[in-house]
Protein backbone atom coordinates (compact mmCIF):
# COMPACT_ATOMS: atom_id res chain seq x y z
CA UNK A 1 0.00 0.00 0.00
CA UNK A 2 1.46 3.28 -0.99
CA UNK A 3 1.70 6.07 1.49
CA UNK A 4 1.42 9.75 0.82
CA UNK A 5 5.19 10.18 1.08
CA UNK A 6 6.00 7.59 -1.59
CA UNK A 7 5.67 8.22 -5.29
CA UNK A 8 2.83 6.14 -6.78
CA UNK A 9 4.37 3.76 -9.32
CA UNK A 10 2.01 4.87 -12.08
CA UNK A 11 2.95 8.49 -11.61
CA UNK A 12 5.19 10.27 -14.06
CA UNK A 13 8.81 10.38 -12.90
CA UNK A 14 9.04 13.02 -10.21
CA UNK A 15 11.63 15.09 -8.46
CA UNK A 16 10.82 13.66 -5.04
CA UNK A 17 14.03 11.68 -4.72
CA UNK A 18 15.86 11.25 -1.45
CA UNK A 19 18.86 13.52 -0.93
CA UNK A 20 19.93 12.46 2.54
CA UNK A 21 23.18 11.13 3.92
CA UNK A 22 23.08 8.03 1.75
CA UNK A 23 22.90 10.19 -1.38
CA UNK A 24 25.91 12.25 -0.37
CA UNK A 25 27.86 9.11 0.48
CA UNK A 26 27.00 7.69 -2.94
CA UNK A 27 28.06 10.99 -4.49
CA UNK A 28 31.44 10.72 -2.78
CA UNK A 29 31.97 7.15 -3.90
CA UNK A 30 30.76 7.91 -7.43
CA UNK A 31 33.06 10.91 -7.72
CA UNK A 32 36.02 8.81 -6.55
CA UNK A 33 35.21 6.20 -9.19
CA UNK A 34 35.03 8.86 -11.89
CA UNK A 35 38.34 10.27 -10.67
CA UNK A 36 39.91 6.83 -11.19
CA UNK A 37 38.68 6.95 -14.77
CA UNK A 38 40.11 10.41 -15.31
CA UNK A 39 43.51 9.48 -13.84
CA UNK A 40 43.62 6.26 -15.87
CA UNK A 41 42.84 8.13 -19.05
CA UNK A 42 45.30 10.96 -18.50
CA UNK A 43 47.93 8.36 -17.67
CA UNK A 44 47.25 6.34 -20.80
CA UNK A 45 46.99 9.25 -23.21
CA UNK A 46 49.47 12.11 -23.17
CA UNK A 47 48.45 13.68 -26.46
CA UNK A 48 46.24 16.75 -26.01
CA UNK A 49 44.40 16.32 -29.31
CA UNK A 50 43.45 12.76 -28.44
CA UNK A 51 42.25 13.80 -25.01
CA UNK A 52 40.17 16.58 -26.53
CA UNK A 53 38.75 14.13 -29.07
CA UNK A 54 37.73 11.76 -26.29
CA UNK A 55 35.96 14.51 -24.32
CA UNK A 56 34.26 15.66 -27.52
CA UNK A 57 32.93 12.15 -28.11
CA UNK A 58 31.78 11.86 -24.49
CA UNK A 59 29.77 15.08 -24.72
CA UNK A 60 28.82 14.42 -28.34
CA UNK A 61 27.25 11.09 -27.40
CA UNK A 62 24.87 12.91 -25.05
CA UNK A 63 24.08 15.56 -27.64
CA UNK A 64 23.60 13.07 -30.49
CA UNK A 65 21.08 11.23 -28.39
CA UNK A 66 19.20 14.27 -27.10
CA UNK A 67 19.17 16.25 -30.34
CA UNK A 68 19.00 13.54 -33.02
CA UNK A 69 18.12 10.03 -31.94
CA UNK A 70 15.55 10.75 -29.26
CA UNK A 71 13.47 13.16 -31.39
CA UNK A 72 13.69 10.75 -34.33
CA UNK A 73 12.51 7.78 -32.29
CA UNK A 74 9.72 9.77 -30.67
CA UNK A 75 8.56 11.03 -34.06
CA UNK A 76 8.57 7.58 -35.65
CA UNK A 77 6.84 6.10 -32.61
CA UNK A 78 4.20 8.82 -32.53
CA UNK A 79 3.46 8.54 -36.27
CA UNK A 80 3.35 4.74 -36.15
CA UNK A 81 1.03 4.74 -33.17
CA UNK A 82 -1.36 7.10 -34.88
CA UNK A 83 -1.39 4.98 -38.02
CA UNK A 84 -1.78 1.67 -36.22
CA UNK A 85 -5.07 0.24 -34.97
CA UNK A 86 -4.99 0.26 -31.16
CA UNK A 87 -5.30 -3.49 -30.76
CA UNK A 88 -2.39 -4.17 -33.10
CA UNK A 89 -0.09 -1.68 -31.39
CA UNK A 90 1.77 -3.98 -28.91
CA UNK A 91 3.07 -6.38 -31.58
CA UNK A 92 3.72 -3.57 -34.08
CA UNK A 93 5.61 -1.64 -31.41
CA UNK A 94 7.74 -4.74 -30.78
CA UNK A 95 8.38 -5.06 -34.52
CA UNK A 96 9.53 -1.46 -34.78
CA UNK A 97 11.73 -1.56 -31.67
CA UNK A 98 13.37 -4.84 -32.67
CA UNK A 99 13.83 -3.77 -36.30
CA UNK A 100 15.44 -0.49 -35.26
CA UNK A 101 17.85 -2.12 -32.83
CA UNK A 102 18.83 -4.91 -35.23
CA UNK A 103 19.40 -2.31 -37.96
CA UNK A 104 21.79 -0.50 -35.62
CA UNK A 105 23.65 -3.75 -35.00
CA UNK A 106 23.77 -4.61 -38.71
CA UNK A 107 24.85 -1.17 -39.94
CA UNK A 108 28.63 -1.74 -39.67
CA UNK A 109 28.30 -5.02 -41.56
CA UNK A 110 26.02 -3.51 -44.17
CA UNK A 111 28.51 -0.66 -44.62
CA UNK A 112 31.39 -3.16 -44.78
CA UNK A 113 33.45 -1.30 -42.19
CA UNK A 114 35.87 -4.22 -42.00
CA UNK A 115 36.80 -4.02 -45.69
CA UNK A 116 39.72 -1.64 -45.15
CA UNK A 117 41.52 -4.22 -43.02
CA UNK A 118 41.87 -6.58 -45.99
CA UNK A 119 41.00 -9.40 -43.61
CA UNK A 120 38.20 -11.54 -45.07
CA UNK A 121 37.51 -13.20 -41.70
CA UNK A 122 36.22 -9.87 -40.40
CA UNK A 123 32.54 -9.53 -41.33
CA UNK A 124 32.62 -12.71 -43.43
CA UNK A 125 28.87 -12.94 -44.04
CA UNK A 126 26.54 -11.44 -46.62
CA UNK A 127 25.05 -9.01 -44.12
CA UNK A 128 22.33 -7.75 -46.44
CA UNK A 129 20.67 -11.14 -46.65
CA UNK A 130 21.53 -11.97 -43.03
CA UNK A 131 19.88 -8.77 -41.84
CA UNK A 132 16.85 -9.41 -44.03
CA UNK A 133 16.49 -12.81 -42.38
CA UNK A 134 16.59 -11.29 -38.89
CA UNK A 135 13.94 -8.72 -39.83
CA UNK A 136 11.75 -11.49 -41.24
CA UNK A 137 12.07 -13.35 -37.92
CA UNK A 138 11.04 -10.20 -36.03
CA UNK A 139 7.90 -9.62 -38.07
CA UNK A 140 6.94 -13.29 -38.02
CA UNK A 141 7.05 -13.06 -34.23
CA UNK A 142 4.99 -9.85 -34.38
CA UNK A 143 2.44 -11.53 -36.65
CA UNK A 144 2.17 -14.50 -34.28
CA UNK A 145 1.69 -12.11 -31.36
CA UNK A 146 -1.05 -10.28 -33.26
CA UNK A 147 -2.72 -13.57 -34.14
CA UNK A 148 -2.63 -14.61 -30.49
CA UNK A 149 -4.27 -11.32 -29.48
CA UNK A 150 -7.00 -11.86 -32.02
CA UNK A 151 -7.61 -15.43 -30.84
CA UNK A 152 -7.79 -14.25 -27.23
CA UNK A 153 -10.21 -11.50 -28.14
CA UNK A 154 -12.43 -13.73 -30.23
CA UNK A 155 -12.63 -16.36 -27.53
CA UNK A 156 -14.10 -13.70 -25.27
CA UNK A 157 -11.31 -13.67 -22.72
CA UNK A 158 -10.03 -10.23 -21.77
CA UNK A 159 -7.23 -9.07 -24.00
CA UNK A 160 -3.76 -10.14 -22.86
CA UNK A 161 -0.78 -8.57 -24.61
CA UNK A 162 1.52 -11.53 -24.15
CA UNK A 163 3.13 -13.71 -26.79
CA UNK A 164 1.64 -17.17 -27.35
CA UNK A 165 1.93 -19.17 -24.21
CA UNK A 166 2.44 -16.28 -21.87
CA UNK A 167 -0.22 -15.60 -19.27
Amino acid sequence: MTTSTETPPDAPPSNSTAHGAAFWFATGVGTAIMAVGAVEYLDATADFDRRANFVAFLIGADLAHDLVFAPLVCLVGWAARRACPARAWPPVRFGLIASGVLLLLALPGLRDTGAASGNPTIQPLDYASAFTTTIAVVWIIAALWLAALRVALRSGRSQKPGSPGQR
Partner: protein, 380 residues
Protein backbone atom coordinates in the same frame (compact mmCIF):
# COMPACT_ATOMS: atom_id res chain seq x y z
CA UNK B 1 -9.85 -0.26 -26.26
CA UNK B 2 -10.29 3.33 -27.31
CA UNK B 3 -7.47 4.86 -29.26
CA UNK B 4 -5.88 7.35 -26.91
CA UNK B 5 -4.14 10.20 -28.70
CA UNK B 6 -0.44 9.95 -27.85
CA UNK B 7 0.66 12.66 -25.50
CA UNK B 8 4.01 13.85 -24.27
CA UNK B 9 3.25 12.50 -20.83
CA UNK B 10 3.04 9.00 -22.17
CA UNK B 11 1.42 6.11 -20.31
CA UNK B 12 4.64 4.19 -20.17
CA UNK B 13 6.75 7.00 -18.79
CA UNK B 14 6.31 6.04 -15.16
CA UNK B 15 8.41 5.10 -12.17
CA UNK B 16 7.92 1.36 -12.41
CA UNK B 17 8.91 1.07 -16.07
CA UNK B 18 11.96 3.24 -15.44
CA UNK B 19 12.87 1.20 -12.36
CA UNK B 20 12.62 -2.17 -14.10
CA UNK B 21 14.70 -1.01 -17.06
CA UNK B 22 17.14 0.63 -14.68
CA UNK B 23 17.58 -2.56 -12.67
CA UNK B 24 18.17 -4.60 -15.83
CA UNK B 25 20.73 -2.05 -17.03
CA UNK B 26 22.36 -2.15 -13.62
CA UNK B 27 22.86 -5.90 -13.97
CA UNK B 28 24.16 -5.63 -17.55
CA UNK B 29 26.57 -2.81 -16.74
CA UNK B 30 27.85 -4.55 -13.62
CA UNK B 31 28.62 -7.67 -15.68
CA UNK B 32 30.32 -5.49 -18.31
CA UNK B 33 32.31 -3.56 -15.73
CA UNK B 34 33.62 -6.56 -13.80
CA UNK B 35 34.49 -8.56 -16.93
CA UNK B 36 35.90 -5.46 -18.60
CA UNK B 37 38.19 -4.54 -15.72
CA UNK B 38 39.44 -8.14 -15.56
CA UNK B 39 40.20 -8.13 -19.27
CA UNK B 40 41.85 -4.71 -19.12
CA UNK B 41 44.08 -5.65 -16.19
CA UNK B 42 45.13 -8.94 -17.77
CA UNK B 43 46.42 -7.00 -20.77
CA UNK B 44 48.13 -4.37 -18.65
CA UNK B 45 51.77 -4.15 -19.61
CA UNK B 46 52.94 -4.03 -16.02
CA UNK B 47 51.59 -7.53 -15.62
CA UNK B 48 50.68 -7.16 -11.95
CA UNK B 49 47.30 -8.84 -12.49
CA UNK B 50 47.64 -12.42 -13.69
CA UNK B 51 45.22 -15.18 -14.56
CA UNK B 52 46.01 -18.74 -13.49
CA UNK B 53 46.22 -21.38 -16.20
CA UNK B 54 43.00 -23.07 -15.07
CA UNK B 55 40.09 -23.04 -15.68
CA UNK B 56 41.25 -23.01 -19.30
CA UNK B 57 38.05 -21.35 -20.58
CA UNK B 58 37.70 -18.60 -17.99
CA UNK B 59 38.93 -15.74 -20.20
CA UNK B 60 36.79 -16.96 -23.09
CA UNK B 61 33.68 -16.87 -20.89
CA UNK B 62 34.74 -13.52 -19.43
CA UNK B 63 35.05 -11.85 -22.83
CA UNK B 64 32.01 -13.59 -24.27
CA UNK B 65 29.92 -12.32 -21.35
CA UNK B 66 31.37 -8.83 -21.69
CA UNK B 67 30.41 -8.40 -25.34
CA UNK B 68 27.08 -10.24 -25.00
CA UNK B 69 25.98 -8.10 -22.03
CA UNK B 70 27.12 -4.95 -23.81
CA UNK B 71 25.17 -5.70 -26.97
CA UNK B 72 22.06 -6.75 -25.02
CA UNK B 73 22.25 -3.44 -23.13
CA UNK B 74 21.66 -1.47 -26.34
CA UNK B 75 17.86 -1.93 -26.45
CA UNK B 76 17.67 -1.65 -22.66
CA UNK B 77 19.45 1.70 -22.63
CA UNK B 78 17.44 2.97 -25.59
CA UNK B 79 14.17 2.10 -23.82
CA UNK B 80 15.32 3.56 -20.50
CA UNK B 81 16.31 6.86 -22.11
CA UNK B 82 12.99 6.98 -23.94
CA UNK B 83 11.09 6.36 -20.71
CA UNK B 84 12.79 9.18 -18.80
CA UNK B 85 13.05 11.63 -21.71
CA UNK B 86 10.53 14.18 -20.35
CA UNK B 87 12.78 14.69 -17.33
CA UNK B 88 15.36 16.25 -19.62
CA UNK B 89 13.00 19.20 -20.03
CA UNK B 90 12.03 19.69 -16.40
CA UNK B 91 11.76 23.28 -15.26
CA UNK B 92 13.31 24.62 -13.12
CA UNK B 93 16.35 22.44 -13.97
CA UNK B 94 17.21 22.00 -10.32
CA UNK B 95 15.62 22.88 -6.98
CA UNK B 96 18.54 22.36 -4.58
CA UNK B 97 22.28 21.79 -4.53
CA UNK B 98 21.67 18.06 -4.13
CA UNK B 99 19.29 18.05 -7.06
CA UNK B 100 21.89 19.85 -9.18
CA UNK B 101 24.51 17.25 -8.26
CA UNK B 102 22.08 14.48 -9.11
CA UNK B 103 21.39 15.98 -12.52
CA UNK B 104 25.05 16.72 -13.27
CA UNK B 105 25.89 13.09 -12.59
CA UNK B 106 23.69 12.20 -15.54
CA UNK B 107 26.31 13.66 -17.90
CA UNK B 108 28.95 11.00 -17.21
CA UNK B 109 26.26 8.34 -16.77
CA UNK B 110 24.40 8.90 -20.02
CA UNK B 111 27.34 10.18 -22.06
CA UNK B 112 29.60 7.44 -20.74
CA UNK B 113 27.02 4.69 -21.29
CA UNK B 114 26.25 5.80 -24.83
CA UNK B 115 29.95 6.09 -25.66
CA UNK B 116 30.64 2.63 -24.20
CA UNK B 117 27.96 0.94 -26.27
CA UNK B 118 28.84 2.88 -29.43
CA UNK B 119 32.60 2.32 -29.21
CA UNK B 120 32.04 -1.32 -28.21
CA UNK B 121 29.79 -2.09 -31.17
CA UNK B 122 32.01 -0.14 -33.55
CA UNK B 123 35.24 -1.71 -32.30
CA UNK B 124 34.12 -5.31 -32.74
CA UNK B 125 33.32 -4.31 -36.33
CA UNK B 126 36.80 -2.85 -36.78
CA UNK B 127 35.33 0.60 -37.22
CA UNK B 128 37.04 3.36 -35.25
CA UNK B 129 35.84 6.81 -36.38
CA UNK B 130 37.64 8.52 -33.51
CA UNK B 131 41.18 9.65 -32.73
CA UNK B 132 41.62 8.29 -29.21
CA UNK B 133 42.86 4.81 -28.34
CA UNK B 134 39.88 2.47 -28.09
CA UNK B 135 41.29 0.65 -25.10
CA UNK B 136 42.04 3.81 -23.13
CA UNK B 137 38.80 5.58 -24.06
CA UNK B 138 36.48 2.61 -23.53
CA UNK B 139 38.07 1.89 -20.14
CA UNK B 140 37.86 5.50 -18.97
CA UNK B 141 34.26 5.83 -20.18
CA UNK B 142 33.45 2.74 -18.08
CA UNK B 143 34.70 4.37 -14.89
CA UNK B 144 32.81 7.59 -15.70
CA UNK B 145 29.59 5.68 -16.40
CA UNK B 146 29.87 3.53 -13.27
CA UNK B 147 30.72 6.56 -11.13
CA UNK B 148 27.70 8.41 -12.51
CA UNK B 149 25.62 5.28 -11.93
CA UNK B 150 26.60 5.13 -8.25
CA UNK B 151 25.46 8.73 -7.76
CA UNK B 152 22.27 7.98 -9.71
CA UNK B 153 21.51 4.92 -7.57
CA UNK B 154 22.14 7.01 -4.46
CA UNK B 155 19.48 9.45 -5.61
CA UNK B 156 16.98 6.89 -6.88
CA UNK B 157 17.34 4.03 -4.43
CA UNK B 158 14.23 4.56 -2.32
CA UNK B 159 12.06 5.54 -5.28
CA UNK B 160 13.22 2.45 -7.19
CA UNK B 161 12.52 0.16 -4.27
CA UNK B 162 9.04 1.60 -3.91
CA UNK B 163 8.36 1.26 -7.63
CA UNK B 164 9.53 -2.37 -7.74
CA UNK B 165 7.55 -3.50 -4.70
CA UNK B 166 4.79 -6.01 -5.58
CA UNK B 167 2.29 -4.11 -3.44
CA UNK B 168 2.63 -1.21 -5.82
CA UNK B 169 0.52 -3.17 -8.27
CA UNK B 170 -2.48 -2.42 -6.09
CA UNK B 171 -4.50 0.59 -7.04
CA UNK B 172 -3.15 3.84 -5.76
CA UNK B 173 -5.37 4.52 -2.79
CA UNK B 174 -3.92 7.96 -2.31
CA UNK B 175 -5.50 9.16 -5.54
CA UNK B 176 -8.98 8.96 -6.94
CA UNK B 177 -7.81 7.37 -10.19
CA UNK B 178 -9.36 4.00 -11.05
CA UNK B 179 -7.07 0.94 -11.17
CA UNK B 180 -4.88 1.16 -14.23
CA UNK B 181 -5.18 -2.48 -15.30
CA UNK B 182 -4.80 -1.60 -18.97
CA UNK B 183 -1.74 0.41 -18.05
CA UNK B 184 -0.12 -2.58 -16.32
CA UNK B 185 -0.81 -4.77 -19.34
CA UNK B 186 0.69 -2.25 -21.72
CA UNK B 187 3.74 -1.89 -19.51
CA UNK B 188 4.17 -5.66 -19.61
CA UNK B 189 3.80 -5.66 -23.39
CA UNK B 190 6.34 -2.85 -23.71
CA UNK B 191 8.86 -4.54 -21.44
CA UNK B 192 8.32 -7.83 -23.25
CA UNK B 193 9.11 -6.04 -26.51
CA UNK B 194 12.28 -4.50 -25.06
CA UNK B 195 13.58 -7.62 -23.32
CA UNK B 196 12.54 -9.71 -26.32
CA UNK B 197 14.65 -7.44 -28.52
CA UNK B 198 17.60 -7.90 -26.17
CA UNK B 199 17.08 -11.65 -26.50
CA UNK B 200 17.10 -11.42 -30.29
CA UNK B 201 20.27 -9.32 -30.20
CA UNK B 202 21.93 -12.07 -28.17
CA UNK B 203 20.55 -14.84 -30.36
CA UNK B 204 21.91 -13.22 -33.51
CA UNK B 205 25.40 -12.50 -32.14
CA UNK B 206 26.45 -14.80 -29.32
CA UNK B 207 27.25 -17.64 -31.71
CA UNK B 208 30.56 -15.90 -32.39
CA UNK B 209 31.73 -17.36 -29.08
CA UNK B 210 29.16 -20.02 -28.23
CA UNK B 211 29.96 -22.46 -31.00
CA UNK B 212 26.69 -24.46 -31.06
CA UNK B 213 24.84 -21.21 -31.86
CA UNK B 214 27.19 -20.08 -34.60
CA UNK B 215 24.72 -20.64 -37.44
CA UNK B 216 22.32 -18.21 -35.76
CA UNK B 217 24.97 -15.49 -35.43
CA UNK B 218 23.66 -13.61 -38.45
CA UNK B 219 24.76 -10.19 -37.20
CA UNK B 220 28.07 -11.13 -35.56
CA UNK B 221 31.22 -9.68 -37.13
CA UNK B 222 33.02 -13.03 -36.81
CA UNK B 223 32.14 -16.66 -37.20
CA UNK B 224 34.27 -19.07 -35.19
CA UNK B 225 34.41 -21.49 -38.13
CA UNK B 226 35.28 -19.11 -40.98
CA UNK B 227 38.90 -18.42 -41.89
CA UNK B 228 42.12 -20.12 -43.02
CA UNK B 229 42.25 -23.63 -41.59
CA UNK B 230 38.69 -23.14 -40.44
CA UNK B 231 38.90 -20.31 -37.91
CA UNK B 232 39.25 -16.50 -37.92
CA UNK B 233 42.38 -14.38 -37.93
CA UNK B 234 42.91 -11.02 -36.28
CA UNK B 235 46.26 -9.99 -37.71
CA UNK B 236 47.30 -11.05 -41.16
CA UNK B 237 50.85 -12.20 -41.84
CA UNK B 238 51.28 -9.57 -44.50
CA UNK B 239 50.40 -6.79 -42.04
CA UNK B 240 53.64 -7.63 -40.19
CA UNK B 241 55.65 -8.59 -43.27
CA UNK B 242 55.84 -12.28 -42.39
CA UNK B 243 54.00 -13.90 -45.30
CA UNK B 244 57.13 -15.73 -46.34
CA UNK B 245 59.63 -17.12 -43.89
CA UNK B 246 62.81 -18.94 -44.84
CA UNK B 247 62.30 -21.91 -42.60
CA UNK B 248 65.95 -23.01 -42.90
CA UNK B 249 67.05 -19.71 -41.41
CA UNK B 250 64.41 -19.72 -38.71
CA UNK B 251 65.57 -20.12 -35.13
CA UNK B 252 63.62 -20.04 -31.91
CA UNK B 253 65.87 -18.37 -29.36
CA UNK B 254 65.53 -19.33 -25.70
CA UNK B 255 67.61 -17.02 -23.53
CA UNK B 256 67.56 -14.59 -20.65
CA UNK B 257 69.00 -14.44 -17.13
CA UNK B 258 66.72 -17.26 -16.02
CA UNK B 259 68.27 -20.00 -18.17
CA UNK B 260 71.52 -21.88 -17.64
CA UNK B 261 71.90 -23.04 -21.25
CA UNK B 262 70.53 -20.56 -23.80
CA UNK B 263 69.44 -22.28 -26.98
CA UNK B 264 68.85 -21.40 -30.59
CA UNK B 265 66.59 -24.11 -31.97
CA UNK B 266 65.76 -24.78 -35.60
CA UNK B 267 62.31 -25.67 -36.83
CA UNK B 268 63.23 -29.28 -37.54
CA UNK B 269 64.73 -29.63 -34.08
CA UNK B 270 61.51 -28.33 -32.58
CA UNK B 271 59.51 -30.79 -34.67
CA UNK B 272 61.76 -33.60 -33.47
CA UNK B 273 61.17 -32.83 -29.80
CA UNK B 274 58.36 -34.65 -27.96
CA UNK B 275 55.07 -33.17 -29.14
CA UNK B 276 52.05 -32.47 -26.97
CA UNK B 277 48.52 -31.93 -28.21
CA UNK B 278 45.87 -29.83 -26.51
CA UNK B 279 42.38 -28.70 -27.40
CA UNK B 280 42.25 -25.04 -26.45
CA UNK B 281 40.23 -21.95 -27.33
CA UNK B 282 41.57 -18.76 -28.80
CA UNK B 283 39.51 -16.05 -27.13
CA UNK B 284 39.72 -12.61 -28.65
CA UNK B 285 39.19 -9.49 -26.59
CA UNK B 286 36.45 -8.63 -29.12
CA UNK B 287 34.26 -11.37 -27.70
CA UNK B 288 34.63 -14.15 -30.27
CA UNK B 289 36.37 -17.44 -29.65
CA UNK B 290 37.13 -20.67 -31.40
CA UNK B 291 38.36 -24.05 -30.13
CA UNK B 292 40.98 -25.98 -32.06
CA UNK B 293 43.43 -28.80 -31.42
CA UNK B 294 47.03 -27.62 -31.24
CA UNK B 295 50.21 -29.68 -31.38
CA UNK B 296 53.67 -28.56 -30.46
CA UNK B 297 56.37 -28.45 -27.83
CA UNK B 298 55.23 -27.83 -24.28
CA UNK B 299 56.85 -24.65 -23.02
CA UNK B 300 57.84 -26.35 -19.79
CA UNK B 301 59.74 -29.03 -21.77
CA UNK B 302 61.60 -26.32 -23.65
CA UNK B 303 62.41 -24.48 -20.45
CA UNK B 304 63.69 -27.72 -18.92
CA UNK B 305 66.02 -28.28 -21.89
CA UNK B 306 67.39 -24.75 -21.47
CA UNK B 307 67.85 -25.21 -17.75
CA UNK B 308 65.37 -22.57 -16.67
CA UNK B 309 64.88 -22.08 -12.96
CA UNK B 310 61.50 -23.16 -11.57
CA UNK B 311 58.97 -20.36 -11.23
CA UNK B 312 60.64 -18.27 -13.88
CA UNK B 313 58.78 -15.43 -15.59
CA UNK B 314 58.68 -15.77 -19.36
CA UNK B 315 58.25 -13.15 -22.06
CA UNK B 316 57.36 -14.22 -25.57
CA UNK B 317 58.75 -12.17 -28.43
CA UNK B 318 57.38 -12.27 -31.96
CA UNK B 319 59.58 -12.07 -35.04
CA UNK B 320 58.13 -8.63 -35.73
CA UNK B 321 58.24 -5.45 -33.64
CA UNK B 322 55.51 -3.09 -32.63
CA UNK B 323 52.01 -3.79 -31.45
CA UNK B 324 51.37 -7.14 -29.75
CA UNK B 325 54.93 -8.29 -30.37
CA UNK B 326 55.42 -9.20 -26.73
CA UNK B 327 53.40 -11.22 -24.24
CA UNK B 328 53.98 -12.44 -20.70
CA UNK B 329 53.62 -16.00 -19.47
CA UNK B 330 53.27 -16.16 -15.71
CA UNK B 331 54.87 -19.03 -13.76
CA UNK B 332 51.55 -20.84 -13.31
CA UNK B 333 50.88 -20.81 -17.03
CA UNK B 334 54.48 -21.66 -17.91
CA UNK B 335 54.28 -24.78 -15.75
CA UNK B 336 51.00 -25.93 -17.30
CA UNK B 337 51.29 -29.04 -19.47
CA UNK B 338 49.13 -27.41 -22.15
CA UNK B 339 51.10 -24.17 -22.49
CA UNK B 340 52.37 -24.94 -26.00
CA UNK B 341 54.64 -23.57 -28.66
CA UNK B 342 52.46 -24.92 -31.44
CA UNK B 343 53.69 -26.04 -34.83
CA UNK B 344 50.42 -27.55 -36.02
CA UNK B 345 46.70 -26.93 -35.69
CA UNK B 346 44.21 -29.74 -36.27
CA UNK B 347 47.10 -31.79 -37.64
CA UNK B 348 48.13 -29.24 -40.30
CA UNK B 349 51.21 -27.05 -40.37
CA UNK B 350 50.24 -23.56 -39.22
CA UNK B 351 49.03 -21.19 -41.94
CA UNK B 352 51.14 -17.99 -42.12
CA UNK B 353 48.14 -15.98 -40.90
CA UNK B 354 47.91 -18.27 -37.88
CA UNK B 355 51.53 -17.65 -36.92
CA UNK B 356 53.74 -20.01 -38.98
CA UNK B 357 56.23 -21.34 -38.05
CA UNK B 358 55.49 -21.29 -34.31
CA UNK B 359 52.78 -19.69 -32.19
CA UNK B 360 52.19 -19.72 -28.48
CA UNK B 361 48.89 -21.11 -27.26
CA UNK B 362 47.93 -21.81 -23.68
CA UNK B 363 44.95 -22.12 -21.35
CA UNK B 364 43.14 -19.05 -20.04
CA UNK B 365 45.08 -16.45 -21.98
CA UNK B 366 43.63 -13.53 -23.97
CA UNK B 367 44.09 -13.81 -27.72
CA UNK B 368 46.58 -10.95 -27.82
CA UNK B 369 48.91 -12.99 -25.58
CA UNK B 370 48.86 -16.08 -27.79
CA UNK B 371 51.84 -14.74 -29.70
CA UNK B 372 52.07 -15.62 -33.37
CA UNK B 373 55.30 -15.82 -35.39
CA UNK B 374 57.24 -16.59 -32.25
CA UNK B 375 60.93 -15.72 -32.39
CA UNK B 376 62.23 -15.65 -28.85
CA UNK B 377 61.40 -16.98 -25.41
CA UNK B 378 62.99 -14.76 -22.79
CA UNK B 379 63.27 -16.20 -19.30
CA UNK B 380 63.85 -14.14 -16.15
Amino acid sequence: MKVRPPTWNHDLRDERTAAILGAALGVAFTVCFVTGVISHLVQDSSGWFQLPARPAGFYRVNQGLHVAAGLAAIPLLAAKLWTVLPKLFEWPPFTSAAHLVERLALLPLVGGSLLLLFTGLANINVWRPWDFSFRAGHYAAAWFAIGGLVVHIGAKWSATRAALRPASRAPDLASDRPPRVEHHRDRRAFLLAVFGTAGLVTLFTVGQTVAPLRRLALLAPRRPDIGPQGFPVNRLARSVGLERIDIDDYRLVVDGPGVVAPRSISYSELAAMPQTSATLPIACVEGWSTTQTWTGVALRDLLAVAGARPGAEVTLHALHDGRQSRAPVNPDQAADRHMLLALRVNGEILHPDHGYPVRAIGPNRPGVHQTKWLGRVEVR
